[in-house]
Amino acid sequence: MKKFLLLILAAGCANTGAAPPGGSTLKAVRARGTVKCGITAGTGFATPDDAGQWHGFDVDFCRAVAVALFNDPSKAVFLPYTQQQRFSGILSGEVDILANGTTVTSSRALQRPFHFGPIYLYDGQGFMVPKASKVTNAKGLDGATVCVQQGTTTELNLADFARKNKVTFRPVVIEDMRAAVAALAAGRCDALTQDFAGLATTRSMLQHPNDYVVLPDFISKEPIAPVVRAGDDQWLEIVNWVFRAPVEAEELGINQANVEQFQTTTTDPEIRRFLGLDPGAITGDGLDPQWTAHVIARVGNYADIFDRDLGPKTPLGMDRGVNKLWNAGGLLYSPPFR
């Protein structure tokens, strides 16, 4: 119901401080003085601390946009959505960017009035089962009851996988992820299906994480990218390049710890262009002439962000997997900053 009210409210009384459809998001952001980010709460991706500050992988990437525009991480405002409400949030103009683990799909891109920015996490869907069930692969779940969260691509992938492999699953579709996790813990479901990153989050939420295992099968591709409204190329390009900057920085060897040193000493032309020391390459509407340096100093490069929010030292303990640089055997590849 909330979603509908939002849409109708947005449709019925447009121009209430929200970024207007078809208008300049950058202008609205400048006038407001903040970037509004739509997120979905989840350990590692977006969690508030006891001071009300948001932390996490999605949060960091969205915060980078605020840093690029205002050189001030506090200028990012976060609005949590359920997976159900998220698209109304971006379409109604309530947020400027949606960075909440949305999967890029052709139907979303072609049929809905929004655009995807660069892929910032390569994920896939998997299953988590209790160790005691002795299930070792996804096909071994034939006949099982599977808990799944509503409003995500996982619901469709589950049905596809069952049809393709001639197995049957009985889905229990639950709106709130926490309720789905509770159902798994209570034994109502034989398995829980979610993206791998999500499974790591979920596992860390369980009372006895070690009693559960994540099955090795990837049953889908889940490239995660930010979403912006269609019809605002200028804003799309800003989001594109800000999301690419941490990747390029990692490739150039620039990180949060050494960026200041690079700024004062480097003679490498590529790095000088990237950091805005030689003007031209990173100049753009509304962007600070040295926005890349600010982003790396205040948010970090891709490795900094990943290690801080998702990596082995966090409760999620995720491996970089395919989220390594292209020249290290991964899929992360930024177009050149020049």
Binding site: K3, F4, F87, Q150, G151, D160, V172, V173, R229
Partner: protein
């Protein structure tokens, strides 16, 4: 005359609202259309009731499955809520202090518990049943576990498989929790309607019946309840309508009612406005149907 002015103002407001919404939706690149109903759903539904449903069936059929699930909850829920409500309402007027105390506690506790909380509590309670491997089996072919209640059907017995049970007739834990929560919650309200309506019948009626030598039960059955019914029917209808609308909380515990299915479709296709319109039509027609049926019944008993 005055009335017409208001009607015209009302219509003008609605037209303006719709035009404004349409214009703004178009500005956001959203178009209204129902073609998606004939496209394959590509998702599965856990509890399909009497219908069969596979992911390659259409979205329209998925909605019908959800609709029948809602209808199942509405019909069973209203029936049981009325029965329990009547029994509790009448018991509360009994001369037995234990009975009145118990029913009073029932009403007060349930009326002051938010329905969603009750629903989540019952759902968690049912999750506490034994696992499928240790299912309670009081009779052959009857299994009660955290996978639900499995009973023999006319053609087959339920079988225990690696994951739970297959075959037979089943009552899923989600449906059971939803039905129990709705019946408990609504019956507490209904019992107060019943009690109020009975108390509203003038005391002289009871005294006259007793003077004629009718027993307490006979007085209730032949004198009081028929008169009280007139006062309670509109409110009972109202309670049934509430129950139907409250059944949309199903999504919180994973029962695929019509709202749950429409939410999934809206989210997968982006046709949120259309799915919301369908929801409005579904709940409006359900409410109007109940109101109409109760109106007819009321006309008959008051005639």
């Amino acid at each position: 005359m005055r009335r017409w002015v208001w009607i015209i103002v009302g219509i003008a407001l609605v037209v303006w609202g719709l035009r404004n919404a349409a214009a703004n939706l178009e500005a956001r690149g959203l178009t209204i259309g129902f073609e998606f109903l004939t496209q394959p759903a590509n998702f599965a539904i856990g509890d399909t009731g009497w219908l069969k449903f596979a992911p390659d069936d259409t979205m329209g059929r998925a909605i019908i499955v959800g609709l029948l699930n809602t209808a199942r909850v509405a019909a069973l829920g209203c029936l049981f809520a009325l029965i329990v409500g009547f029994v509790v309402g009448i018991s509360r007027l009994s001369a037995n202090p234990t009975l009145t105390g118990l029913t009073r506690a029932y009403v007060e506790i349930l009326r002051s518990t938010p329905l969603l909380l009750l629903l989540l509590f019952l759902s968690a309670l049912l999750h506490g049943l034994p696992t499928a491997d240790h299912a309670l089996s009081p009779l052959p072919g009857v299994f009660l576990s955290d996978r639900g209640l499995y009973l023999p059907s006319l053609t087959e017995l339920p079988r225990h498989t690696r994951f739970g049970f297959v075959g037979g007739t089943e009552l899923s834990p989600e449906l059971a929790a939803l039905l129990m929560a709705l019946v408990l919650h609504q019956s507490a309200h209904i019992s107060e309607v019943v009690r109020g309506a009975i108390l509203a019948v003038p005391k002289g009626q009871t005294e006259a019946a007793h003077a004629l030598g009718l027993s307490r039960l006979q007085t209730l059955r032949f004198v009081i309840v028929p008169q009280a019914l007139r006062a309670m029917v509109p409110l009972l209808a109202q309670n049934c309508v509430s129950l139907i609308k409250n059944s949309s909380l199903a999504v919180a515990i994973g029962f695929p009612d019509v709202v749950s299915v429409l939410n999934t479709i809206g989210n997968q296709t982006g046709h949120n406005v259309e799915t919301m319109l369908i929801m409005v039509v579904v709940y409006l027609s359900a409410s109007l149907t109940v109101a109409y049926a109760m109106g007819r019944y009321n006309a008959r008993i008051t005639a």
